[in-house]
Amino acid sequence: MTELLMGNEAIALGAIKAGVRVVSGYPGTPSTEVLETIARRNPGNIYVEWSVNEKAGLEVAAGAAYTGVRSLVTMKQVGLNVASDPLMSLNYIGIKGGMVVFVADDPGPISSQTEQDTRHFGKFAKIPVFDPSSPEEAYEMIGEAFEYSEKYGTPVLFRATTRVCHACVSIEVSEVPEPKPVEGFIKDNKWVIFPRLSYQNKIKIEAREGLLSEDFSGYQRNELIGTGRIGIACGGISYAYVAEALEGHEDIFTVMKIATPFPFPERLAARFIHQVDQIIAFEELDSVIEDALIYICGKNKLTIDILGKRTSTVPNAGELSSMIIAEILDKTFGFQLSVPYSQYPDRPLTMVRPPVLCAGCPHRASFYAVKQAMKGGKAVFCGDIGCYTLGNAAPLDMVDTCLCMGAGITIAQGLWHAEKDSVNFAFVGDSTFFASGITGVINAVYNQTDMILIVLDNATTAMTGHQPHPGIGKTMMGEISQKIGIRAILEAIGLSYIKELDPLDLKKSIETVREAALLGGVRAIIYKSPCVAIMKNEKHKSVNKDKCIGCKKCMKELGCPAISFHAGKAEIERGLCNGCGLCNQVCPTACITDADSTEVAK
């Protein structure tokens, strides 16, 4: 049947069709929906888990693949950094059942820390990389990735980018075939990594690279399209942009579409180089295809102009588009492919509209309490990855540093060792705490650091769409598991000052921070309040206009998107307010009450 599927859903259904049996991963935009879709569409024989982090996920998938079943692990590009330790050894050990490491890259970046290019990781780990150009291609390609993985006994990377992951297309979904029998785990020294084994396997891996390059030169998704004299090299979503940019003028060009950027299909590329007079490479993130062509020219003593990022012809940061490609081709070759458009130069200026913490978000209350408590004192607020990175924005302005998952906790320690007159705070969400915060806390206690850990426990992984985690007691298989308590972990680590409280009680929250600030050692405050996006509060607040003195304190202190000012009085947008009541605790006349009670009072 035909379904409108998002790229990530297509990848999930393609993996189910390919007979995947164990799926693990850690949420991260734009990768999250692959694992969620497999859990939702599970035919019943697939084990699916959100792992505690990407390293755990990759190892779970590897163990499963040792038995001969097909396994999949999913993550975003920066997650692969966390999982790189097992990956860089697993490449030497290999697998028995097909194993695909799905990694979503994020050109732009749209919702990531970096523009990291996972294709390099394939080259670094010496494992094949697949790069789909559309959701429908991804649906088929994921099955082929499993085939290649088994054929060469190696895990493979399947990297897609945001505009493939989060694009929808109508796809004909086929039946899931009967599962194949699996041999099981057979004990053998080949599963135990030792220097001697690694030496022997390195020789095999190097030899395999040439075989794979040759194999990929015949792979149907690596293609030369057209016979024109201008060569365009591209891969992934750039191929879709190129196809649109060239519409109606295809005869001028030969397009080389690269579906396996590593090992590079050298024989195909050499044919391409011979067929054209000059080459321009269009790819997002880094110049992987372009560099491979330059290498092949050097190796084969070929002379041809290769334009791309290295020649500053193509931008080296941000997304491409069919329009950017058409404009570059026009500028470089004097074509008229691009369509003129009006910029409406006289249009009124629009305000910037950055993402903000939701109305009623408990993180706002937590940040505000710490800010108030530390007013006038020297303090550094180390942030982390999650919704609460948005605490950076005015008026809260409570994220002084943010680096990567879990880093806030350890950055705070480094700051303190170098500069001891400041109170250093580390804010971490519950899911991030489990993913990579715990080791940082142990490090702090062991090394006798002074810091205050603020755990923002909203009982979910909010930013990526509310995935469960070890503190919630629910698994992706729908089972109830033991809840792992953050407080219990901190106690076991040896923290003596641990307070758990509701951040929406502003007075008590401020007092607790003040108390903690006077102590030494590692102190922890766990602010517990559920994410408003999942725990909708039916109550909302409204302003008693007679009592409102128009001081704007509620808005200027909190920056809540539900509050605005009209005719000098505060107004609360009914549809947005979640009734947290923080604004009333800030209001000098306490004029904000439950909406219904004010209505009755009128």
């Binding site: 035909t2 942009y241 588009s321 009006s342 910029q343 249009r347 993402p355 939701c358 605005s564 549809g575």
Partner: protein, 192 residues
């Protein structure tokens, strides 16, 4: 090929609007592609969805100057993205503005009126929809997306009729909300 750009503020139901249009196009036998904003940008930030359909669609992203129709859930967001509109393209825009926190904080007056006046003056085929009123009549702010899609279908700019949209609502909307959404579609389609 037809291209429709939908823009507004995170949380307004824009992704569902693009899915409904794409589903209706598929139902009519076209190939459809969408591209959506998901993740960080959803938290009250600007959101843009691209929908394209036809016999063949290469890329999900609409180039500047190529949108046949733009549906704006907020006046300023339409103006922000106006360079996507093709010459003589249609604009459907919800009248009600949404104050960005940045405007409230800086004390800058942001009003949708200025945006709407600019649109009326510069876009020949601009339809301003009182979405707030329709939502009130239907009893939920969540139906704004379907109301605007209804207005789009009424203008006949995309080769999708109101009944084409109505046919796919069942697939895309939970049964308990279907009634109010069908009403919103109808009211949206009555807009002048």
């Amino acid at each position: 090929m037809k291209s429709c750009l939908i823009c507004g503020v995170g949380g307004q139901g824009i992704v569902l609007a693009s899915r409904i249009i794409a589903a209706a196009a598929i139902e009519k036998g076209y190939m459809a592609r969408t591209a959506e904003t998901i993740g960080m940008a959803q938290r009250g930030g600007c959101v843009v969805s691209h929908v394209r359909f036809g016999d063949k669609v290469s890329s999900p992203m609409i180039p500047f100057g190529k949108a046949d129709v733009m549906i704006g859930f907020e006046p300023g967001e339409i103006v922000r993205n106006l360079h996507y509109l093709k010459k003589d393209g249609v604009v459907i825009v919800c009248k009600k503005d949404i104050q960005p926190v940045t405007a409230s904080l800086s004390g800058t007056d942001y009003t949708g009126k200025v945006m709407l006046e600019y649109l009326k003056k510069n876009i020949t085929k601009c339809y301003i929809i009182d979405g707030e009123k329709i939502c009130e009549e239907c009893g939920s702010p969540k139906v704004l997306n379907v109301a605007l899609v209804g207005a789009m279908a009424k203008c006949q700019a995309l080769d999708l009729t109101v009944s084409d949209i109505d046919k796919v609502l069942k697939q895309k909307i939970k049964p308990q909300f279907l009634g109010m959404n069908r009403k919103a579609l109808e009211l949206g389609a009555q807009c002048e």
